[in-house]
Symmetry: C2
Subunit: 228 residues, 2 copies
DNA sequence: TAGATTGTTAATCGATTAACAATC
DNA sequence: TAGATTGTTAATCGATTAACAATC
């Protein structure tokens, strides 16, 4: 099934399959991989893997599996990773610094091309081999360096303003680490990573787990047996 | 509607409403807030807000809206944020350090209670006011300090082993920053934050945006008019 | 009462999954 | 051919949304 828009849920899993395939390719020996194996590595079930991959086209062989190299290439291409998307980080605080020196980005083919801040104590400093520039130079830098991804690592108050500057400079993809919702035109993609929210969601499930454990303990004391 | 399990999608949005409500409460003046306002701040639609909040119980007043303070309390309680869930970070590299000194956690009520690494060059060092201990002391520390959340910030190779140690120590909630899938028993919750995967997904949408722009440009040149 | 806004229903949409025919 | 595994169908499930009666 070609040329149908790929579901969002599938897009979100493609990078997971990609990583699993890279692992298989590294381990060598195996030239093909089954949906069952891939599912195990990705932590999903095999039907989902096959359905997801079917959106890219019919790249498997019945009775055999998927050619590792070929599938790697197809997913890489589908995700747009064959192209260079230089990124800029705005807000060079603790988090911005960690992101700027995060090895994982360059390993996965993403190039941090510029850093920005508004604090004169930070502007000019070199972080991870790149000099921090003033936010006022954002637009110029985006155009000159062909930056296509903006990574917001500012305090929440500044996030919306920075997002607007990025949009004004022509950036169409934003990764937002600031604990704030930013509003952008519909042709701009924003993904939000909020560390505190992740912990808060975890807190909910932790509480639930504990409630279950407490109930079980109460039942045990009362001599209630759980259903077989 | 009480005592129905709250949908996962709703749980994931509660922290967003919480943040919006905190903003409203800070701005004062307004003692109540409508689903419409809340939706605007959270970046969702009003029907979703009302549906989500209805899972917590009927805490709104028709024709008036939601009492800000009361709703704040209910969401806080529902998420388990009235309790103390001490967290430990394992892997004190760049990311681990950033997380250890991340203000957002303490602001949102999460306490980083312990840090662990296996590198003798790092063990003993103090990061964000806490001495890094050796991973071998994990279990002891988890029990002594009542740690209930484990934050994995190790290289991918170590992630599974660390997850098992956490589970063995009795931890039921794990936040995994390592670019690897970890397998845990079904009673343990894992949330995964993968910075590279976020960028890869963004790359897909960036590519799509660009493809659309290119197609539009081609149409323009050919004199094709978009449908009104 | 008139206006505002919730809580809930029901329709719709999208994602998941088991099952199996197709086919290597 | 027999065994293995894909690709696709169809059933099911869960999430979203518009609409509106209930009610402040």
């Amino acid at each position: 099934m070609r040329n149908r828009p790929i579901p969002e849920a599938t897009v979100a899993r493609l990078p997971v399959y990609l990583r699993a395939l890279l692992e298989v390719a590294e381990a060598r020996g195996e030239l093909t991989v089954s949906s069952e194996e891939l599912a195990g590595m990705a932590g999903v079930n095999a039907a989902k893997v096959r359905k997801d991959l079917s959106y890219l086209g019919s790249y498997g062989t019945r009775g055999v599996g998927y050619d590792v190299e070929y599938l790697l290439y197809q997913i890489t291409r589908e995700l747009g990773l064959t192209q260079d998307w230089p990124a800029a980080i705005i807000g060079i605080g603790n988090l911005g610094r960690a992101l700027a020196s995060y090895r994982g980005f360059s390993e996965r083919g993403f190039r941090i091309a510029a850093l920005f801040d508004v604090d004169d104590g930070v502007v000019g400093e070199e972080v991870g081999g790149i000099a921090v520039r003033h936010l006022d130079e954002l637009k110029e830098s985006v155009v000159d360096q062909g930056i296509s991804i903006g990574i917001i690592a500012t305090p929440p108050m500044a996030a919306q303003e920075v997002a607007e500057k990025l949009v004004d400079a022509g950036v169409k993809s934003i990764l937002n680490f600031a604990p704030a919702v930013v509003n952008v035109p519909p042709d701009v993609s924003v993904r939000k990573v909020d560390l505190s929210i992740e912990l808060q969601i975890l807190s909910f499930y932790q509480q639930r787990t504990q409630a279950i454990a407490t109930a079980r303990e109460a039942n045990r004391r009362l001599g209630v047996r759980p259903p077989a």
